[in-house]
């Protein structure tokens, strides 16, 4: 094929006149192209195109349609070359609107190339699209669908949605297929709008045309990626489809190089791997078909390898099966050893993926990996380093980091540098063998990474130095080493060093230069001052340097005053300010002592992040008539609101007259929120410590060749390793493993050496454990827990305890209570002893809303301390609740019995404990009651429940820890949960730890979901109040919902159905309109205005909270769909 192209291309010059294709080209475009190819410089091209554009401008002003098409093509050409032809946009829309089929086609094409989703001109196209979608001409409908899937304004989706849904049952399959993809596009840009048509997606999956089914897989891949649990029931269907495809049941048309529908197979394999992930029963369904796929895909063509690769990935993702894993491993071998470079690349990728599960596989291919490390191909090299990154441990870290840095030195691609440098820093921090190596490596990182470096890296590094570890001595050694190293660097030529590096150095010198007693502080000051004078140093860095100087200037007034003097006339205001500060401080040693106390622990610093000391100033300003502060996002929203389109016809009537409208300030000055900006040289640095990167530390090997590795049964390895020292044993091992290979030639010797150092400690876990060493040594630099999480406890007294636990004002102060105090004062309510009367709710123990680090640590250490660890994750599905005998509800404490509650749902169980939950709806909170039943005859001790949910706040909890649980009894523990930000669904996870025998801690984990509906409460208002509130609310959403038409009064029936499902308050129903109100617990209200509109219910929601209407709408749709 490519040589055909080549041949044609060699005949290029003759083409202008002879080619049949070229003959029909309109003369103007041809001329344009011809003259462009003749040009020699960019300038000439620019002037030519400008000329062309102005002549086009003239032409479009006196249009005739046949010219228009040609002009559009020319405009596309100019736009492609990067010139602005925006004056043609409107004509493109016009062409799509008015032209015949042919013009339309060019018009639509031009629109999809010129405009983006947010472009305002696109709105003019909506009508055309609507018309064409309804057209009887298939081609027009076809073109309209194409443009809808490419660009369509988000606001206008409701307008075309019904038409698209109709198209799903259109007789022509190509139309159905495009409709499915267009809906998928809608799902991507506005998921809430298409919630109600999931059933139609299922229909598309079952379509008789394989093409339509294929396009529906795009949707399912997305949906399943988002929430695999909701689609487990489809596993069978996907497996059947794949079986049929692999078995060649599709028409021959779908074959590509004799492989049946390869792209379809790839898609299906991806879906299956998502479904089977960590799910044994689902995985079992697919073993057979995966095996079949592996077997069938043996032809030697590119595309079969694509299928094989997906297969391998799927096999390693789902619940493992030994036989398949073996085949997959062999397959990876084929990839890695393949002479084809593309396959080798994929092999490396597969290995990178697999080593997380089974590091030994990397050992088998170590020689290939080393070859790849020296490969000429940049991509291959990079992928190899990625693989090495994954297998790094404390023993091979120096070699691997050296390799990475080597690569970095010869690399010029910015993106790669940023990416890799971050990894090097991560490895250095995690596995550094000693101080000097660590500092040296970080120096390398800073100097190569330069100013491209992500801010995280220097931040983490400085934090590590500042916070230190457990032992002060070690910390000081590290700091001292850093100081020495930087002094050496600065004594050399510092002009070429990146700014970030200079900043790091100046901070460290400022903080810790005093540790180095042998160097005169004046010398340090001299070096830093020298740096200040350098031209290449940016003003930001100067600020860092100056603050470092401020810190070490004590007692060196003579040196400093000159400096402060010279800088106080600087152009830079920040520098000037600092120079002034410096001068003041150096003259007043008492003040200096107070501002910069030497050697004070850095975390004792208190930052008033609410800037409360400014309150007086703010209230004065407000009194003087200043506008109240609005956070940026609110300003943004208000801007957007002005631009939002009103989709409703103007005649829409409101139950309230506009005259009652009063403009209220939504933001009262007392609620002023000021985010504290941190200055660049503050020690309070970014908290998200490398969150984007993978954390390997402490990763357990969950499974290997033979399936899951039960953690408690470490199979004793064959005792063939002499109990030698660690390092030699690693090398020896590597050498032994190499024996079956052909005898290495002498020139390979150094490669072998490299191999032994690269792969040392890998897969040697068994022999390591023989030597009594743990497989993963603890990281050298262990970060201290963040101090804020516990430090505030001392500041607030216990007096708040008496305040109502659930009121919003107090739950913020409850942060200070720790589990510890709870334990003693509030014993678990044990139900077997019915005599216990629960205390009144005011006496409820308050608990901290987030688990403190201490708790978590205590918990893990407890787990590790036991001999046996049983972790059995169990997920329960909200959709199919298995009802536990309802007498469990009788166990609820008396004061809660009267509250409305849900059914009791079983959460999880194991032979000794069974957990179930029940939701109780209190006005200001949701009570999640967890019933813990002891199924055995014996007493279970030290039962502790821990619940985490990131999106929710725990206002109070009771009974989560109990000393003992009698046989066959049930204990109740309940959490009062608050939802501040609306979320459609939130999931919670938790663990119960307990001891059946002393020293044997068992852990049982559970999880579940709560929906926003659980947090919605009726808002009782009168019609007038409703009207006033309506006008004061800003965020609105409109949507048509299904109307329940099976009764005499459809509106009332529908509203009642919603009321039952969602606890809404129906305020009033007048004729065909109804108004409904609700709120999120005791927080933000949401008003719903419903109107019967034909067979649909037009619903208009308003709320002060932007996300709440969407959330409620979603649940309304669900409730109506289930009705």
């Amino acid at each position: 094929m490519s040589d055909v192209v080549e041949k044609t291309l060699s005949a290029l010059p003759g083409l202008f006149d002879s080619q049949t294709g070229a003959a029909r080209i309109t003369s103007r475009l041809r001329q344009l192209v011809k003259s462009i190819t003749e040009l020699t410089s960019k300038n000439e091209e620019e002037s030519l195109i400008k000329q062309e554009l102005s002549s086009m401008k003239e032409q479009v002003s006196s249009p005739n349609t046949s010219m228009m098409r040609e002009i559009m093509v020319r405009a596309m050409y100019c736009e492609m070359l990067g010139y602005d032809a925006s004056f043609t946009y409107i004509h493109a829309i016009k062409l799509a609107q008015q032209g015949g089929v042919l013009e339309k086609r060019v018009g639509y094409l031009a629109v999809s190339l010129f405009l983006n989703e947010g472009h305002e001109l696109l709105l003019l196209l909506v009508n055309t699209v609507l018309k064409d979608l309804q057209s009887t001409n298939v081609i027009e409908a076809y073109m309209a669908l194409t443009v809808v899937a490419q660009v369509f304004p988000k606001d206008m989706i409701p307008a075309v949605l019904p038409l698209l849904e109709d198209k799903l049952s259109y007789p022509k399959e190509i139309i159905r297929r495009k409709a499915v993809l267009a809906l998928y596009k809608f799902y991507l840009i506005a998921p809430n709008q298409v919630q109600h048509i999931h059933a139609k997606f299922r229909k598309a999956l079952c379509d008789r045309d394989p093409g339509v089914m294929t396009s529906s897989l795009h949707i399912y891949l997305q949906l399943i990626t988002e929430s695999p649990d909701d689609y487990k029931d489809l596993t069978g269907s996907f497996v059947t489809i794949l079986k049929q495809v692999v078995g060649g049941k599709l028409p021959v048309d779908f074959n590509y190089h004799n492989v049946p529908a390869p792209w379809l197979q790839i898609q299906l394999l991806r879906i299956l791997s998502l479904l089977g992930k960590e799910d044994r029963s689902t995985s079992e369904l697919m073993y057979e078909v995966l095996d079949e796929s592996l077997r069938r895909a043996e032809m030697n063509h590119n595309i079969t390898y694509a299928i094989l690769y997906e297969c391998v990935k799927a096999i390693y993702t789902i619940h493992p099966k030994a036989e398949l894993l073996e085949k997959a491993a062999r397959c990876i071998g084929n990839f890695v050893l393949s002479p084809k470079i593309n396959l080798r690349y994929l092999g490396l990728k597969a290995l990178t993926y697999v080593v997380q599960h089974d590091a030994k596989l990397a050992l088998q291919h170590q020689m290939t990996i080393i070859e790849c490390l020296d490969h000429t191909d940049f991509t291959i090299k990079r992928e190899t380093l990625e693989l090495l990154f994954r297998i790094t441990n404390a023993q091979n870290v120096t070699v691997i980091v050296e390799k990475m840095l080597d690569f970095l030195h010869g690399c010029s691609d910015e993106h790669t540098i940023i990416h890799l440098v971050g990894k090097v820093a991560e490895l250095a921090e995690k596995f550094a063998p000693d101080n000097s190596w660590f500092i040296q490596t970080m120096n390398d990182v800073f100097s190569t990474g330069g100013d491209l470096l992500q801010q995280d890296v220097p931040n983490n590094f400085l934090r590590l130095l500042a916070e230190g570890s457990e032992s002060k001595e070690e910390d000081d050694q590290l700091r001292l080493y850093a100081v020495n190293s930087y002094l050496t660097v600065l004594k050399g030529d510092a002009s070429h060093l990146p700014q970030r590096f200079l900043q790091v150095m100046s901070w460290v010198l400022g903080e810790y230069a005093h540790l180095q007693e042998s160097v005169d502080q004046r010398e340090v000051i001299r070096l830093l001052t020298q740096l200040l004078d350098q031209r290449s140093v940016s003003s930001e860095t100067r600020v860092w340097i100056l603050s470092a100087l401020t810190k070490i200037s004590e007692g060196q007034t003579d040196l400093i005053l000159d400096l402060a003097e010279s800088l106080s006339s600087s152009q830079d205001t920040v520098l000037r300010q600092q120079a002034q500060e410096l001068r003041q401080l150096s003259q007043d040693s008492q003040l200096y002592e107070w501002v910069l106390p030497r050697g004070a622990p850095w975390d004792s610093m208190e930052v008033d992040s609410s800037l409360s000391f400014l309150d007086g100033f703010v209230s004065e300003a407000l009194a003087a008539g200043a506008a109240p502060y609005k956070p940026p996002h609110q300003r943004q929203e208000e801007l957007c609101e002005d631009r939002a389109l009103n989709l409703e016809p103007y005649s829409f009537s409101l139950p309230v007259s506009l005259s009652s409208c009063s403009i209220t300030d939504r933001q009262s000055p007392t609620l002023l929120s000021v985010s504290s900006g941190l200055s660049g040289n503050s020690t309070e640095l970014s908290q998200k410590a490398g969150s984007s990167t993978l954390i390997l530390e402490g990763v357990k090997r969950v499974w290997g060749r033979d399936g899951y590795l039960r953690q408690n049964e470490t199979t004793a390895p064959p005792v063939d390793e002499p109990s030698a020292a660690v390092q030699p044993s690693g090398q020896q091992e590597a050498a032994e493993r190499l024996e079956p290979q052909p005898e290495p030639s002498t020139q390979n010797q150094d490669k072998l050496q490299l191999a032994s150092s690269l792969f040392v400690g890998l897969g040697a876990g068994s022999s390591m454990s023989l030597l009594g060493k743990s497989e993963a040594p603890p990281p050298r630099f262990r970060k201290k827990p963040r101090p804020h999480e516990s430090s505030s406890s001392s500041s607030s007294g216990t007096s708040e305890r008496s305040s109502d636990s659930s009121s919003r004002s107090s739950h913020s102060t409850t942060d200070s209570f720790l589990y510890g105090s709870l334990l003693e004062e509030e014993p678990a309510t044990s139900i077997s002893a019915f005599s216990h009367t629960p205390k009144s709710s005011t006496a409820n123990g308050l608990a901290q809303n987030k688990d403190t680090k201490e708790d978590r640590r205590a918990n893990t250490s407890q787990i590790l301390g036991g001999d046996m660890v049983i972790v059995r994750p169990n997920t329960f599905q909200d959709k199919h609740p298995s009802l536990v005998s309802s007498d469990l509800t009788a166990l609820l404490p008396a004061d809660l019995k009267d509250l409305p509650h849900s059914d009791v749902i079983s959460l999880t169980s194991d032979p000794s404990l069974s957990l179930s939950s029940c939701r109780l709806f209190r006005d200001e909170a949701l009570l999640l009651v967890i019933l813990i039943s002891n199924c055995t005859e014996t007493v279970i001790k030290d039962v502790a429940v821990q619940l985490t949910c990131e999106e929710l706040e725990t206002a109070s909890l009771r009974g989560n820890v109990m000393n003992c649980l009698e046989g066959n009894s049930t204990s109740v523990c309940h959490y009062a949960l608050l939802m501040d930000e609306p979320h459609t669904n939130v999931s919670f996870t938790g663990t119960v730890s307990y001891q059946t025998q002393p020293g044997h801690t068992n852990t049982l984990s559970f999880s579940g979901t709560l929906s926003a509906a659980d947090f919605i409460r009726p808002l009782v208002v009168s019609t007038e109040e409703y009207g006033k509130l309506w006008l004061s609310l800003s965020h609105d959403v409109k949507q048509n919902l299904k109307l329940l038409t099976d009764a005499s009064d459809p509106l009332r029936t529908t509203l009642n159905a919603l009321k039952d499902a969602l606890q809404l308050h129906v305020v009033d129903i007048i004729g065909s309109e109804g108004i409904v109100a609700c709120r999120l617990l005791s927080g933000a209200p949401c008003l719903l205005h419903c109107r019967v509109n034909g067979a649909a219910l037009a619903m208009w929601l308003r709320s002060p909270h932007p996300a709440l209407p969407d959330c409620i709408l979603y649940h309304c749709q669900r409730a109506l769909a289930q009705h």
Partner: protein, 162 residues
């Protein structure tokens, strides 16, 4: 998802560019330049995959390209696409072009930009692979061509009235 499809020649002159995500005009041109820069310095016998540059979205994205005589065909995709699958998709695309234009060459792409875009739209719609069956794509494209011919015939008389 496919983020962008770029075709340029050995000198970096764009021959076709289709973006499925919104970038500003300037960024688009920069992406084309950057991509050309990345791709053109690669030897013939090394692999066809590249990590995306800075502009086109970092490590999530990959460039998958093929080089035919004077033209580079580059697909920029995210991690949800199979590398080898896309590589063959490019092959299908080029073969289809070859059939539709009877020995495709660089000039065909320039002069029939609209047609090439239409063929591409049959294969990839809004960043999703829609059709991979070559004969189906050709049938669709030819149906449109036929319609085009018949329409030019029917509407031979100028339609100034509209």
């Amino acid at each position: 998802m496919i983020k962008a499809i770029l075709i340029f020649n050995n000198h970096g002159k764009p021959r076709l560019s289709k973006f499925y995500e919104h970038y500003t005009e300037d960024t688009e041109q920069q992406i084309i330049r950057e991509t050309f820069h990345l791709v053109s310095k690669r030897d013939e016998n090394i692999c066809n995959f590249l990590e995306g540059g800075l502009l086109i979205g970092g490590s999530e994205n990959k460039l998958i390209y093929r080089h035919y005589a004077t033209l580079y065909f580059v697909f920029c995709v995210d991690s949800s696409e199979s590398e080898l699958g896309i590589l063959d998709l490019i092959q299908v695309f080029v073969e289809t072009l070859d059939k539709c234009f009877e020995n495709v060459c660089e000039l065909d792409l320039i002069f029939h930009m609209d047609k090439v875009h239409n063929i591409l739209a049959e294969m990839v719609m809004g960043g999703m692979v829609l059709e991979t069956n070559m004969s189906e794509i050709i049938t669709q494209a030819e149906a449109h061509n036929k319609m085009e011919k018949s329409e030019t015939f029917i509407f031979q008389c100028p339609r100034q009235d509209r």
